[in-house]
């Protein structure tokens, strides 16, 4: 009996570990794809260090919103663009962020996963499903 139990525990741990590993691998792949999107479409304004440009383009590194739990807001910025000129972490930015509506759901999930985990940011990944759901409500 005890043996069977132990086998179950070991098996469970193995499966859990393996799925965490696959999950990590999936996130790592998403981050890598997201970086490519970032370099082509975002870096010009938000810079290689995610620091943005003072007074012009908001920083993504250490941003409250980028690290926050309201992922749908971030998805909306990408799909619709962002030029509200509201204070972001106490500062105003004068440039206009264009919509990148030509990006696929997966590309948006990837680039957000990248910016949320790069530099000093440590927020969790964004899934393609989250993008799909938020996007359908935006139209």
């Amino acid at each position: 009996m005890q043996r069977i139990y132990l086998t179950f525990v070991v098996l469970f741990l193995f499966i859990a570990g393996a799925s965490a590993q696959t999950n990590n691998k999936l996130v790592a792949a998403s981050i890598a794809r997201g970086k490519t999107v970032y370099l082509q479409r975002c870096m010009v304004c938000h810079q290689a260090d995610g620091g943005g440009v003072p007074k012009l383009n908001a920083p993504l590194d250490a941003s409250t919103a980028v690290n926050g739990s309201d992922v749908s807001k971030l998805i909306k910025y990408i799909v619709k663009g962002f030029a509200d000129r509201v204070e972001i972490d106490g500062e105003l930015y004068s440039n206009a962020m264009p919509a990148a509506a030509d990006l696929t759901d997966q590309q948006i999930a990837d680039v957000l996963t990248f910016i949320r985990s790069n530099w000093s940011n440590k927020a969790g990944p964004v899934s393609t499903l989250q993008v799909k759901q938020t996007r359908s409500k935006l139209k």
Binding site: M43, A48, G51, G52, A96, D102
Partner: protein
């Protein structure tokens, strides 16, 4: 009696010594030991007049040597600073402020100070000491200018015939249907040009002027931040920020290196009615040609020959010429007289390549024309040998002014440092 006379002689001697000290020439002012962190040509020295002032944009120095600085962000609710050196050491001892608006442009002509918000221009009378007579009695001479955030700063300069020139930057990169959006083409005609993307001329002695009462003096200028009236040539000169993002918007036509080096930043000598061609063209200083913008059918090869004016001078891309000043003083060596200083705020649009600019440049003039060469005059503002990311720059030069003794003043809008450059042999 003799004692009294002696006392009078001594005390008047003492007073005149004091006075002499206050109006001491740049030769006797001690520069900062490290020249305020700047690298300058041989014989020049620098000091920090003031520090940590906030976002000091353009500056002007009155005949008495007091500095007026326009703030881009209010400091204790005020938007114009007045700095005075009361003991003649070259550094400011007192700071006062007035005006409850943010902005960039500031100028003095005759006995008036002019200061701009992002929508308006105000005028203040100065007394014989160069002080504002009544800071609450600002006359609004221009109002209702376009302010949509992007490129909204208003710079000003005045001629000798009662006119003021105001830049209205285009709230757009290249007049696309959707600004800065990949795949979106340019609007034809570009509706932005009716109320922005040019220089407007107004009268100094009329109130509440706007587009209807002003003159669109020059058009096709995307975003001018530096402008100055050249008194020797009696002509307006402006420096334009060229367009951004050639590679991001048209990756098939421009690679990241070309996009970092093009288009040129440009200086124009302006005549009434001139059209510099934005958004339809950009300038390529490598080819020496006006190029058709990709939003309007360009491909990086097609040129546009006539129709639009040529720049008087072109510089590498994206360096952001924020301040322009024609030097009229006698303190600097003769070759500087009637040449142009340009404050390059520094680029952000060059990554993945390192950023450029973050220095003040001198453009020599001969017979009323730039010689075609330019040289870095003051460097080291950023505190970095290479600026990779704009936020790393400690200071960014923005405004320029000439003091009554011919010293050059430079403002920084990151930390709010004001530098004074002197020639001391």
């Amino acid at each position: 009696m003799k004692k009294v006379t002696q006392f009078l002689v001594f005390s008047s001697l003492f007073i005149s010594m004091l006075l002499a000290h206050v109006s001491v020439s740049a030769q006797n002012i001690k520069p900062d030991e490290d020249n305020a962190g700047l690298t300058l040509p041989k014989g020049f020295a620098a000091l920090k007049v003031a520090d940590n002032l906030g976002r000091t944009r353009h500056i002007v120095v009155n005949k008495q040597g007091a500095i007026y600085a326009k703030l881009e962000r209010l400091d204790n609710g005020k938007g114009v600073l007045v700095l005075k050196d009361t003991d003649g050491d070259g550094r400011a001892e007192t700071k006062t402020s007035f005006g409850n608006y943010t902005g960039t442009g500031i100028a003095i002509k005759g006995n008036y100070l002019y200061a701009a918000s992002n929508k308006e221009v105000f005028k203040y009378a100065l007394n014989d000491n160069g002080d504002i007579v009544d800071e609450n009695a600002a006359a609004t001479i221009v109002t209702g200018l376009v302010d949509k955030g992007q490129h909204n700063s208003k710079s000003i300069t005045l001629d000798n015939a009662g006119n003021i020139y105001v830049n209205v930057g285009a709230p757009s990169n290249s007049c696309q249907e959707k600004d800065r959006t990949k795949g979106s083409m340019g609007m034809m005609p570009c509706p932005i040009l009716d109320s922005a993307g040019g220089i407007w001329q107004f009268k100094v002695d009329q109130l509440n002027q706007s587009y209807a009462s002003g003159v669109r003096y020059a058009t096709g200028l995307r975003n001018v931040v530096g402008l100055d009236w050249n008194n020797q040539l009696n002509q307006l000169f402006v420096t334009q920020h060229g367009r951004d993002m050639l590679n991001n918007l048209f990756p098939d036509l421009y690679d990241t290196t070309i996009s970092a080096e093009l288009p040129s930043e440009t200086m124009y000598a302006i005549k009434k009615g001139d059209n510099a061609g934005w958004p339809f063209i950009y300038y390529d200083h490598v080819k020496g040609k006006k190029m058709m913008a990709p939003e309007y059918g360009g491909d990086g090869v097609k040129t546009v020959d006539d129709k639009y004016i040529n720049p008087a001078m072109a510089f590498p891309a994206h360096m952001a010429p924020n301040g322009l000043l024609f030097y009229t003083g006698n303190q600097f060596p003769a070759r500087y007289k009637n040449g142009a200083f340009i404050a390059f705020h520094g680029s952000w649009n060059r990554s993945p390549l390192p950023q450029e600019g973050y220095y003040v440049v001198f453009v020599p003039y001969e017979n009323g024309k730039p010689t075609g060469k330019w040289e870095v005059f003051a460097n080291g503002f950023s505190g970095k040998s290479v600026v990779k990311n704009p936020r790393d720059a400690q200071h960014r030069p923005c405004g320029l002014a000439e003091g009554p003794d011919g010293s050059l003043y430079i403002s920084d809008d990151v930390k709010g440092t004001i530098y004074r450059i002197m020639y001391q042999k």
